[in-house]
């Protein structure tokens, strides 16, 4: 599942999968604009068939936050 997550991040943010790490966020990823942030959440929702609440969406500051919210929704990212 983490592979799937990384694929979506890589596609939306246009970065190489190998460079993705938990602490990356809008400051460190050039394409992570506010709009692209919405696009990422939207494509994660479609990809994992989940829904982020407005609080969760507001809370996302880096990749780790995304992982945390996905885990809370029962997505196993260790598989």
């Amino acid at each position: 599942m983490s592979q799937k997550l990384y694929k979506i991040i890589s596609k939306v943010m246009k970065i190489d999968i190998s460079t993705i790490s938990d602490e990356l966020g809008p400051e460190t990823i050039e394409n992570w604009t506010s709009f692209n942030g919405y696009v990422l959440l939207n494509e994660l929702e479609t990809g994992f068939n989940v829904k982020f609440t407005i609080d969760e969406a507001m809370d996302v500051k880096n990749i780790l936050d995304i992982k945390r919210h996905l885990k809370n929704k029962g997505i196993n990212l260790d598989e």
Partner: protein, 583 residues
């Protein structure tokens, strides 16, 4: 219908477009809400159709300022098409939530004011730009604080929005530059719950959700196709498992599936939708591997056939391969291969046709006949901004054409054939009634076209008003009926002694009947009457205009550097088998 890509796919793909195509269009997107990503969608969808779209996105929610300020970037961009994408919340502000906090009278007043406001914007824009503008209708929300009682209220808020839409549509019904996009139908098709996503609305003022923005872009592409004249003209159809279920050669006349019960009703419905397209001017043709007599018995006699012999401009029912038959159809109908849509249930046939004619739109028909109708309904390739009289009568005209081909086969030689046709050419100055058809011909004609210059209606209108131009159209009649306006010629008066043929084109439908001789004679004799000494002309070769490569030399024009020149001496005579009337 192919699966839509995600928004990020479009954003990525648009950055990868490197090719610049011959067909170019400048599109402005002017909106009252966030439409980020739409320009990328349009660029990608255009490139898929070999069109280079250059897109300008107006700053967020500044549509009024951009339109009212003649110095704005919107005007500087010089768009060909402008989409004014408005939403109900933005237009009505607080009233959107609290429509019943004010009186009926006040609500009605608001509507009148809003209509005037938008009308003022549209009129200003058209006055100051050469762009066509497409305004979206306002969507009617499903919610009302009155719930089901909303429909019992005379001047309800929902009625008000409907009124707004109706009035804007009515005002611009006959406008050549302003078009109304039915946003509500987009919602009907895709669903308010899908198109509008509260989360995305709160986050970024998106009023079309990211998942549905590509579908919206697909709808806007209809205007791009229509504006550029890339509309498909003819559907080539297989028979077995396409127009009916089963194989007539094996299952027999009584064994095929066609009738009011499923699955036969799916094929009947498919035929109905095809007939509806035929009635509005799309040509139908058959390309089928079958015994001619077996297939014709179904077409002529089967009680549940909707499409009959008279609906097909060409019928290739034989054992030839599909590509040979397509070549035959192209020849018979006299049509460019890029105007064709090919529908066949067999993927092998589809691949074969695609490999030889990449320009033909080959439909990947699913193996479920119940989806055939849907697939046709979802094609955006038949879009037009105008339906002319010629379009409506096209089916009839191709029937005349079939008769003409039969006459040609039985005639001794070309001269005898032409003299039996009773050809009459009517030459008229272009006016506002003939302008739409003339513009259509100028945008679409590829083969019999000397210069392939593309002019929009607005350009032609300017030439009509300019005394330095003569803009004429040609109507052709023969013993089988009226072919409508099928030729256009634009002459530029270069100086007191010389004219130049700027445009000379004819619909391929009337090629091979020496109509061009009649038109050329008219031009030369008119020039002589005006004391003109020379007529200049250019032949600009394209991949498609081979039929006119000898037009100038055949009419005694002499090559003069890159150009051609005709020195006027005496008046010339029209061939005996042509009668020319000037109106």
């Amino acid at each position: 219908m192919p699966e839509e890509n995600s928004l990020s796919d479009y954003i990525n793909k648009s950055n990868e477009i490197t090719k610049i195509f011959d067909r170019k269009i400048r599109i402005a997107l002017v909106s009252s809400f966030t439409i980020n990503g739409l320009s990328e969608i349009i660029k990608v969808k255009s490139a898929e159709r070999n069109i280079s779209s250059i897109v300008y996105e107006s700053p967020y929610n500044q549509y009024s300022q951009e339109i009212l300020n003649k110095q704005s970037n919107l005007y500087k961009f010089l768009p060909d098409l402008t989409f004014l994408i408005l939403d109900t919340r933005n237009i009505f502000g607080e009233i959107f939530r609290f429509p019943y906090s004010i009186s009926d009278l006040e609500r009605t007043k608001i509507i009148t004011n809003k209509i005037n406001e938008i009308k003022n914007l549209l009129d200003k824009y058209v006055e100051n730009s050469n762009s066509k503008i497409i305004i979206t209708k306002l969507t009617i929300p499903s919610f009302s604080p009155n719930g089901i009682f909303e429909s019992k209220i005379e001047n309800s808020f929902h009625n008000m929005i409907e009124d707004f839409n109706k009035q804007i549509t009515k005002i611009y019904l006959n406008s050549e530059n302003i078009f109304v996009y039915d946003f509500d139908k987009f919602i009907t098709k895709n669903g308010e719950d899908n198109v509008f996503n509260y989360s995305q609305f709160f986050f970024g003022d998106l009023k079309i959700s990211m998942d549905y923005l590509p579908k919206f872009g697909q709808d806007l592409m209809k205007y791009v196709i229509a504006h550029l004249g890339l509309t498909k003209k003819c559907i080539v159809l297989d028979l077995d498992n396409t127009l009916w279920g089963g194989i007539v050669g094996e299952d027999g006349y009584n064994g095929i599936k066609l009738g009011p019960e499923p699955p036969g009703n799916a094929f009947m419905e498919f035929q109905r939708v095809l007939l509806s397209l035929h009635q509005r001017g799309i040509i139908l043709a058959i390309n089928s591997k079958n015994n001619f007599d077996d297939a014709m018995k179904v077409i002529k006699d089967h009680p549940y056939m909707i499409l009959r012999e008279e609906h097909f401009a060409s019928m290739c029912i034989n054992w030839n391969d599909k590509v040979s038959n397509i070549k035959q159809i192209i020849k018979e109908i006299n049509i460019g291969s890029d105007s064709l849509v090919f529908i066949d249930d067999d993927p092998v046939n589809r691949e074969f046709v695609k490999s030889v004619f990449p320009e033909i739109l080959v439909i990947n028909l699913s193996n479920d006949p119940s989806s055939y109708t849907y697939e046709i309904e979802n094609l955006i390739d038949f879009s037009v901004l105008k339906i002319t009289e010629e379009d409506k009568n096209r089916g009839k005209m191709y029937l005349q054409q079939k008769k003409i081909i039969e006459l040609e086969k039985t005639s001794r030689d070309l001269q005898t054939f032409l003299s039996q046709l009773n050809l009459k050419i009517i030459i008229k100055n272009v006016d506002k009634f003939t302008l739409p058809r003339v513009s259509q011909l100028i945008l679409k004609t590829n083969q019999f076209n000397l210069t392939t210059k593309r002019y929009q209606e607005i350009d032609i209108e300017k030439m009509i008003k300019d005394s330095n131009f003569i803009v004429i159209c040609v109507q052709v009649e023969d013993k089988f009926g009226d072919n409508g306006i099928t030729g256009v010629c634009i002459i530029e008066k270069e100086n007191q002694k010389e004219w130049r043929i700027d445009t000379f084109l004819m619909s391929c439908r009337i090629m091979g009947r020496d109509i061009e001789k009649g038109i050329m004679t008219y031009i030369i004799n008119t020039a002589k009457e005006n004391n003109i000494q020379k007529i200049n002309a250019d032949f600009i070769p394209t991949q498609k205009n081979k039929p006119v490569e000898n037009l100038l030399s055949d009419h005694d024009f002499v090559k003069n550097g890159k150009s051609w020149t005709y020195i006027i001496k005496s008046e010339i005579k029209v061939p005996e088998y042509l009668s020319v009337e000037v109106k």
